[in-house]
Subunit: 416 residues, 2 copies
């Protein structure tokens, strides 16, 4: 398939993104939290655009939306990303990949029947912002969800995941049926914003992504003894928030020691009033590294740090597993396709591992996968300030298109 | 007035407490949250007992219930505490002082007309558990309530304090009229459980209370920059939770340095998800000391600590004032009366400052005041597990009676 000349228009991708933002954004940022009316509104906009194309649109058993452009061969390239956002999120996170995929379908359809089938997917609940389980839809499709864990998940208001997805016609028992979607899939390509400051700091707009970092995500429950803030002498306290604070500082040192990243993003005290020593404090921990051995070492250090923090304050520590994914290196042939495309578009060979998790992390378990990054202004994401220069968005869409067409060529040649 | 021989029966105080618990307690603890039917039920029980005595019973403009036993002189000793409890609270917190005061009135009335007038008061909303403003009734009577602040207060369900107290016939504009109750008051005596572990830890049942500790209560808002937990390199982060953690550990050191107590009882991160560096973290700080200079030094140190914690993580810090009360040392002559009484009852000279706030803290602003403590099992309070050995309750009631009668003698002699 010829890469250089086609009807793919990067500026249309940016226009679609702005149209989406106009309908589902606002002064506080994007409101596309999965399983909410605003998320459904985003999908309505996508369906309106898809309705103008010769594609088959439906949703699978995990709530993923598929738009399939039939090709000469049943062998399939999947492209996509996710329309859902965190609360008060950014306008580009996920949406860039969906809108670039939409433009790919539009351009391919313009050009006649493609040699292989191309499917755009809008993955459900990539963010996991409500129930703490990200990559819901892509993991279901790859078959890596743990139903026992899902059954126990609740949001802050106590709503159970099983009930909320049930309102969208999804039952946990049927999730596995989404795996049939991968029967003829030969490759997966995704374009996404970096969501970090590295490309900007080196003055580049796009790059090849070599893989996604492995993640360990846990909930830690420090338990001491609730007591009156005025009457319990300091030496007799068993203060769970002090234990959690010790851990939060030490876990940052662990990240620096191993050249990874660690985050405590959530904390809640019980009873949680100004006049009481917290008897229980729950925090979350997220740690990431591109090398499996280093990630394992960080995880072991974190356990030691939690034990030490709890012991220092007379508390106990309990761990609740939330999520784990190993480092996911991308496919060598697709990495070459991406490198050639980035070189054509911006004239360099920059490549980075992704610190963020993406649906590509799940897809890489099952099929040859690669990603393209655009830069992010100030490295910000998951916030209303998230932004990228239009020029970089268009370069990323361009490189994504070139990589996708190179991948179509590889599939058609039987090389994947 | 002769202290040693009178009809005051400490065992009746314990019996009245058990009767109150039978009517307003339960498997989850006491249900006497102020401005609720259960609180009114507790007052009904108190009124039933008062109806058998030659006292005048009415409520003032702040919802405090008064029972006045007229004496030869209009000069007045006030005794009392509060029947209201926190949700799922203990059976003794506040109730001990009210029932001991009831027994004092009963015994004095048995003995004829006392030389001075003695009034029992059941203060309204000591706990402030619903609207966050403790000492409502006593502060109104002393004249230290801030009406502008009260007008803004709401409970968790959004009910405004002004509406809820309005249902009990209380208007903010009339609160000040409660101050007339103090016109002839010469002294205030209160008995309360310690709500801490110190007496138990030294094997004692009761002690003299030297005063109540001053309190500084603030909300601290650390602001950094929300960012993706996977993509923002550690050195570029501005993590508000790490700043709050530094502060929480340092504030404990400040308490130890100054021999006070400090507590971070509440923490909330924004956006508060496992996958985001917290851009904003709110915590509360409560600090207490019996000496004003030491409290001021702790408060200054806390400001330095917050600035340093914020600066170390590239964050800013904002303070929101919640509540402040200076240390309230009790009256020298009444402290002597309490010391003599404690020595008679348990044979020692133990005295402690109160780490908890009491209605006595407000009354001490206006009139000579003193308190007696009983021990608390395991130091627990504000929970259904709150308890005290019967023997210690009876000793505390006994010492309260002796202190009150000594105070009556001081008032009658014109010494106060």
């Amino acid at each position: 398939m010829h890469v250089a000349e086609n009807s793919f228009d990067p500026s249309r991708v940016v226009a679609e993104l702005r149209a989406l933002d106009a309908r589902t954004g606002g002064p506080d940022g994007s409101r596309r939290l999965c399983w909410t009316p605003e998320w459904l509104e985003a999908r309505t906009l996508l369906r309106e655009s898809l309705a103008t194309l010769p594609v088959e649109v439906d949703e699978d058993e995990a709530g993923n939306l598929w738009a399939v452009l039939r090709g000469t061969s049943i062998d399939t390239l999947v492209v996509g990303s996710h329309l859902d956002s965190v609360p008060k999120g950014g306008w580009l996170d996920g949406a860039l990949g969906v809108m670039a995929g939409l433009e790919l379908l539009r351009s391919l359809a313009d050009e006649g029947t493609p040699p292989v089938t191309v499917a755009l997917v809008d993955w459900a609940d990539e963010e996991g912002a409500r129930f703490g389980r990200s990559l819901f839809g892509s993991a279901a499709t790859v078959g890596t969800l743990d139903l026992e864990v899902l059954r126990e998940l609740s949001d802050k208001e106590g709503n159970k995941l099983v009930d909320v997805v049930g309102e969208h016609g999804i039952t946990l028992e049927n999730l596995d049926a989404a795996r049939t979607r991968l029967a003829d899939v030969k490759a997966y390509v995704e374009v996404h914003i970096e969501q970090g400051p590295i490309l900007e700091s080196i003055g580049k707009g796009i790059c090849t992504v070599t893989g996604t970092k492995g993640i360990e995500r846990e909930r830690l429950i420090f338990r001491g003894q609730a007591a009156h803030a005025g009457t319990m002498p300091m030496p007799m306290r068993r203060d769970s928030f002090r234990a959690a604070s010790r851990f939060a500082l030490e876990i940052a040192e662990i990240a620096r020691r191993h050249d990874g990243v660690t985050t405590v993003g959530y904390a809640q005290c019980w009873p949680g009033v100004v006049t009481a020593v917290p008897g229980e404090t729950r925090i979350t921990m997220d740690m990431r590294h591109i090398e499996a051995e280093a990630l394992a070492a960080m995880f072991a250090d974190a356990h030691d740090a939690a034990e030490a923090a709890a012991a220092a304050e007379g508390c106990t520590i309990e761990w609740e597993h939330i999520f784990r994914i190993p480092p996911m290196p991308f496919h060598p042939a697709l990495l070459d396709a991406a490198r050639e495309s980035v070189a054509e578009v911006e004239g360099h060979d920059i490549e980075l591992p992704s610190g963020a998790l993406h649906d590509a992390s799940e897809m890489a378990r099952a099929v040859p996968t690669v990603m393209i990054f655009s830069s992010s202004i100030d490295g910000l994401s998951h916030t209303k300030e998230e932004n990228t220069p239009d020029e970089h968005l268009e370069m990323a869409a361009d490189a994504f298109n070139r990589t996708s067409r190179r991948t179509i060529g590889l599939i058609a040649a039987g090389s994947l």
